[in-house]
């Protein structure tokens, strides 16, 4: 059951190719997690999020200068190495300047049939973002209609919404199990489950989540839960890291990351017409710090998660050079600590130097346990 997600995670490109062959549909690369996937699903397309590989690479130097985050470079490297050569299109909804470079270099050097940039509002907190973003979602829908050569009907859109919401709802349910004293899934497994929802066919993924939920009743992990941790941060689908953390006496029980909960946390709600419903869903989701203005609305959400999942500590995973997160983290760290959640800050460069990290994580767990060091 749950092994399926890891397999998809590892073989995502083979999956996408097979999907394409099987359905005859288009595969659209999505950049960041603000692209209104409902529209793509409505058009029978497969939204596949562009992510990195966590391997060292040497191909992006001519395109993105080394002061930009390793994740944006790692992701572009996947394109330059031809691993995404099945894509029919690419779409970015405005996020950080780092990832916009990945998108731009991609559309310049890796031509696809369809490329689209959505100027998604940056200040999601202003009411004016709502009518504006609805218009932008509508423009995007029109562009897709033009590309596929047919209009998307209301029932197409409804199907897109229902499909995306079903997946979100099921993932929330799966995360509920992580609240248990002994969660039936590890943080690493949860990561595979959440991250794959960003590039596997929504219905297929939902079916797999549903089946996995049914299996949880009888699933007992042959391991101690240990210290309950939360992972907070930038784009961090660092499986090897989670595996290491969970091998030294802890379990990651909740995350606040775009490879995880930030992506699927909220379903859409009926507020206005169909397109407003879609647009508002992205404005109302737990924000990436790049969009969280003028106040830090995200902090309260992070703390609520920590409390609801009874996290005893939080690892703040900082992608090096990620300005939006770097601009939040010192205050977020203070906020969590003032509210009784100790933190460990680690800087990631998309590859995972496990040795140095293990030492830090072990020391962090020791302080939480209150162990005497000597």
């Amino acid at each position: 059951m749950i092994e399926q997600f890891k397999e998809w995670y590892v073989n995502r490109h083979a999956y996408a190719r097979q999907w394409k062959e099987r359905t005859g549909g288009k595969v659209i690369g999505t950049f960041c997690t603000y692209v209104p996937e409902e529209i793509l699903v409505a058009a029978n397309m497969l939204p596949a999020r562009i992510l990195g590989s966590h391997e060292p690479q040497d191909v992006t130097e001519p395109h993105i200068f080394g002061m930009f985050c390793p994740f944006c470079r790692d992701s572009l490297a996947q394109g330059l190495k031809g691993r995404f050569n099945y894509l029919d299109g690419v779409v970015l909804a405005h996020s950080c300047i780092h990832f916009r470079q990945t998108f731009n270099s991609w559309r310049i050097h890796l031509p696809v049939e369809f490329s689209y940039y959505i100027p998604m509002p940056n200040t999601v907190q202003t009411d004016h973002a709502r009518p504006y973003h609805r218009e932008e979602v509508e423009k995007f829908k029109k562009a897709i209609e033009e590309y596929i050569g047919r209009p998307l009907t209301d029932s197409d859109i409804d199907r897109g919404i229902a499909s995306a919401d079903r997946n979100r709802r099921l993932l929330r349910k799966a995360y509920e199990y992580r609240k248990l004293d002994n969660p039936p899934l590890t943080g690493e497994e949860a990561m595979f489950m959440a991250t794959t929802s960003q590039f596997i066919d929504k219905e297929e993924h939902s079916d797999a989540v549903e089946a996995t939920l049914n299996s949880f009743a009888n699933r007992k992990l042959p391991r101690e839960t240990g210290i309950r941790l939360m992972a907070v941060g930038s784009e961090n689908d660092d499986a090897e890291f989670f595996k290491m953390v969970e091998s030294v006496g802890s379990t990651v029980v909740i995350d606040e990351q775009c490879a995880g909960s930030r992506y699927f946390w909220n379903e859409s709600t009926a507020n206005g017409d169909r397109l407003a419903r879609i647009a508002n869903r992205y404005l109302d989701r737990p924000p990436c710090p790049v969009k969280d203005y003028p106040t830090h609305s995200r902090f309260q959400h992070v703390l609520n998660l920590a409390k609801d999942y009874r996290a005893q500590g939080a690892i703040i995973m900082q992608e090096k050079f990620c300005d939006p997160h770097e601009g939040d983290n010192p205050r977020l760290k203070k906020y969590l600590e003032e509210n009784g959640i100790p933190t460990l800050s680690l800087e990631f460069d998309s590859t995972n130097p496990l040795g140095p990290f293990r030492i830090r994580v072990e020391a962090f767990l020791e302080t939480i346990r209150g162990e005497e060091l000597f």
Binding site: E55, P62, D349, T351, P353, G355, P356
Partner: protein, 255 residues
């Protein structure tokens, strides 16, 4: 006329004496605190090797990191220019010169006359230069000159995940503790370095005849890894890679 090129590098000073397009003498000494003194010493040695007196030599041109520090030189040329001139002199078909030194590495695109057309330099980062292998050899407790041969014995390729020299050092130590073979770690070190160097080379383009120069080109482990990383078998390594800059400077002195 005998012209002299002095390459005042971060780690060593190299001197080459040339006459009518032929190398008459050369010498290499460690760069001390006083670069001028080291340059003098190297020059003396080269003269001795050539059996020449100080008076026999004409103009002296310097290059390298300390090129401005040598008061007895007529002038100086940039490292890129010297590397290109030297490389094209030795290998007339060379159009891309990759110079990996102790402290800095660079990739140079040039024409048939050794004129620099474009170049890229590794930025302020030890992980892209010889200093990286030195630090890693220390962590591995292997003499630097044995690191290359050792890595050729590697049986598997493991990624060097840390991209920064400081982190890489602690990663090497973790690998040692996890009983990874030293040879495999040595290969990982060279892969890490060559990935940095290749990334830089890609800035000028990886398309024409390549020549590897600079002290690090002595290291067979690096050369092997470099070939694997760029996916080219045909990468020439200069016979005495650390003297190419000095040859270029000596040629410039004749201009």
């Amino acid at each position: 006329m005998i012209t002299t090129g002095i390459d005042v590098g971060a780690k060593t000073v190299k001197v080459v004496l040339m006459e009518d397009g032929k190398i008459r003498g050369k010498a290499k000494v460690l760069s001390g605190f006083d670069q001028e003194e080291s340059a003098r010493e190297a020059l003396e040695q080269a003269l001795k090797e050539a059996g020449l007196a100080r008076e026999a030599i004409g103009s002296i041109v310097t290059t390298g990191n300390g090129r401005k520090a040598i008061s007895f030189a007529k002038g100086d040329v940039t490292e890129a220019r010297a590397a290109a001139l030297g490389a094209v002199f030795l290998y007339p078909t060379a159009r891309t010169v990759i110079d990996v030194g102790a402290e800095e590495s660079r990739a140079i695109k040039c024409d048939a006359t050794g004129k620099v057309l474009d170049f890229a330099v590794n930025e302020k980062c030890a992980a892209g230069s010889g200093a990286f292998t030195e630090a890693m050899a220390r962590a591995l407790e292997v003499p630097l000159e044995e690191l290359g041969p050792l890595s050729l014995k590697a049986t598997q390729t493991i990624p060097m995940n840390a991209q920064c020299a400081v982190f890489a050092e602690s990663e090497v130590i973790s690998l040692i503790h996890s009983k990874t073979e030293k040879a495999d770690i040595a290969r990982a070190v060279h892969d890490g370095l060559s990935s940095r160097v290749v990334a830089m080379v890609r800035r000028v383009g990886l398309d024409s005849e390549l020549v590897l120069i600079g002290g690090v080109a002595h290291n067979p482990g690096f050369v092997e890894s470099f070939k694997r990383t760029v996916g080219l078998d045909d990468v020439r390594t200069a016979a005495e890679p650390d003297f190419v800059g000095a040859i270029g400077a000596a040629l410039a002195a004749a201009e």
